[in-house]
């Protein structure tokens, strides 16, 4: 799979169909006020509610194999994979190219799931259940990979592809460095395929992705600075390519108070200013706020460029968030977590 450069074509009209379609699809997303109501429902009520929404087909199809939390989790993942594949199928030229570039993150997710599954000795069927075939690698191909005997067999199946350089880092002991390398590869690839072209659409996608890298790095910094991790270790875990990479890497290893003061004045500060303090108890609250900021950012950008990849991107980010919110609620309820704790984790833009 060689890296294809984004061709220099693309008039805004090419985006009219797909943006019209995703704007209609956006109206079918679970409304924000439903999350609070879901907290008070039991598992079967949540499943019944989801059956009235876009998840109906998946809930119906999977209800014979699963029940309760597993049913909801698998149905939401299956629906997301189907929706993203649909977006790819109904778009042409530049939108299709950019959507696929974005969706490769699910290829990375699937490769990670395969490796983790094999690493911890899960069976083929267990691994297949947790795959989300929303990227370029098809469900059949992934299932074939899941049937392979060992991690090295899976890694050798990717020989000659872009992933081989990252997968070569596997040392047989742990997967952390390999997973980090895969994440870095995804962003590096995107930069290589989309960046440096004259296309407006590619530039906009890159603008969003750079902000996303910054937010991911920021979350890493929050976690590691809070835990007092050494600067050199933090720098290893930061993903290059963000707009604020230089500034954020200087913050690695800073004492937490100083780190927080350094963040004041950045565009994302206003969304976390009320909870970011030295005695912060859970970084996941900051994470939820920052993710909400990212969704708002994607939709705000799409208002400036209505006929571009941004509404599609905004939809994909919103959909991913919706699925992860539903998962958080059902998993949290199953584990018996208090409602306030779950509510803090739910991302509402």
């Amino acid at each position: 799979m060689p890296v294809l450069r984004l061709p220099k074509f693309g008039s805004p009209v090419k985006y009219a169909y797909i943006t019209g379609r995703v704007r209609a699809m956006k109206t079918k997303l679970v409304p924000a006020e439903m999350y609070a109501r879901m907290m008070n429902m039991d598992m079967s009520e949540i499943a019944r509610y989801l059956e009235e929404t876009q998840y109906k087909d998946e809930i119906d199809a999977l209800s014979k194999d699963y029940s309760g939390v597993d049913l909801i989790e698998h149905a939401t993942f299956a629906n997301m994979a189907k929706t993203f594949r649909k977006l790819e199928d109904v778009s042409i030229d530049e939108p299709s190219f950019l959507i696929l570039e974005y969706l490769r993150r699910w290829d990375v997710w699937n490769i990670k799931t395969l490796l983790r599954g094999k690493f911890y000795g899960a069976t083929d069927t267990e691994i297949v259940k947790h795959l989300v075939p929303a990227g370029e690698l098809s469900a059949e191909y992934l299932e074939e990979l899941a049937k392979k005997d060992s991690i090295t067999d899976i890694i050798s199946a990717f020989d000659g592809t872009d992933y081989s350089s990252a997968l070569a880092q596997y040392d047989g002991k742990n997967l952390a460095s390999l997973e980090n390398a895969l994440d870095k590869l995804y962003y590096f690839r995107m930069e290589l395929a989309v960046g440096g072209t004259l296309s407006v659409g590619g530039g906009l996608l890159l603008k969003y992705v750079r902000r996303e890298v910054d937010i991911r790095n920021l979350i890493t910094l929050f976690r590691m600075n809070k835990a007092g991790v050494d600067a050199a270790v933090i720098l290893e875990n930061l993903i290059p390519g963000g707009k604020l990479h230089g500034e954020l890497s200087r913050m690695a290893g800073q004492p937490f108070g100083e780190f927080l003061r350094g963040l004041e004045g950045y565009p994302f500060w206003s969304s976390i200013s009320d909870i970011a303090s030295v005695d912060l108890d859970a970084v996941s609250r900051i994470e939820a706020r920052l993710r909400a900021y990212l969704i708002r950012y994607a939709w705000a950008l799409s208002n400036y460029h209505p006929l571009s990849i941004l509404p599609v991107l905004g939809y994909m980010v919103s959909k991913e968030t919706e699925v992860s919110n539903i998962r958080k609620i059902v998993r949290g309820k199953e584990a018996g977590l208090p409602a306030e704790l779950i509510e803090e984790q739910v991302v509402v833009a």
Binding site: P12, V13, A16, Y17, G20, R21, A24, T27, V90
Partner: protein, 88 residues
């Protein structure tokens, strides 16, 4: 007489102008409609109930052709060069 020949040329140019008025208006409306049409089809694929509203939005640029057509009709019929210019 030279004046008559000039009037003929003038009338020919008028006809060209009338053609351009309708033709360019049509091309412009078409360019406007391509985006709206594509977007409407996209929305209708998800929400079939939007078809009526979508068609209405799609036909809005069509009104511009009527302006072009009106200008063409005025050029062709409201004034003829043979009536005013040709004098003995």
């Amino acid at each position: 007489m030279a004046v008559v020949a000039d009037a003929g040329t003038l009338y020919g140019l008028l006809a060209v102008g009338a053609g351009l008025a309708t033709g360019l208006a049509g091309i412009g409306a078409g360019m406007g409609e391509q985006g709206i049409g594509a977007a409407v089809v996209g929305v209708v694929a998800e929400e079939p109930g939007f078809l009526g509203k979508g068609l209405f939005l799609m036909l809005l640029p069509e009104t511009l052709i009527i302006f072009g057509l009106a200008v063409s009709l005025i050029l062709m019929f409201a004034w003829t060069p043979f009536s005013g210019i040709v004098t003995p």
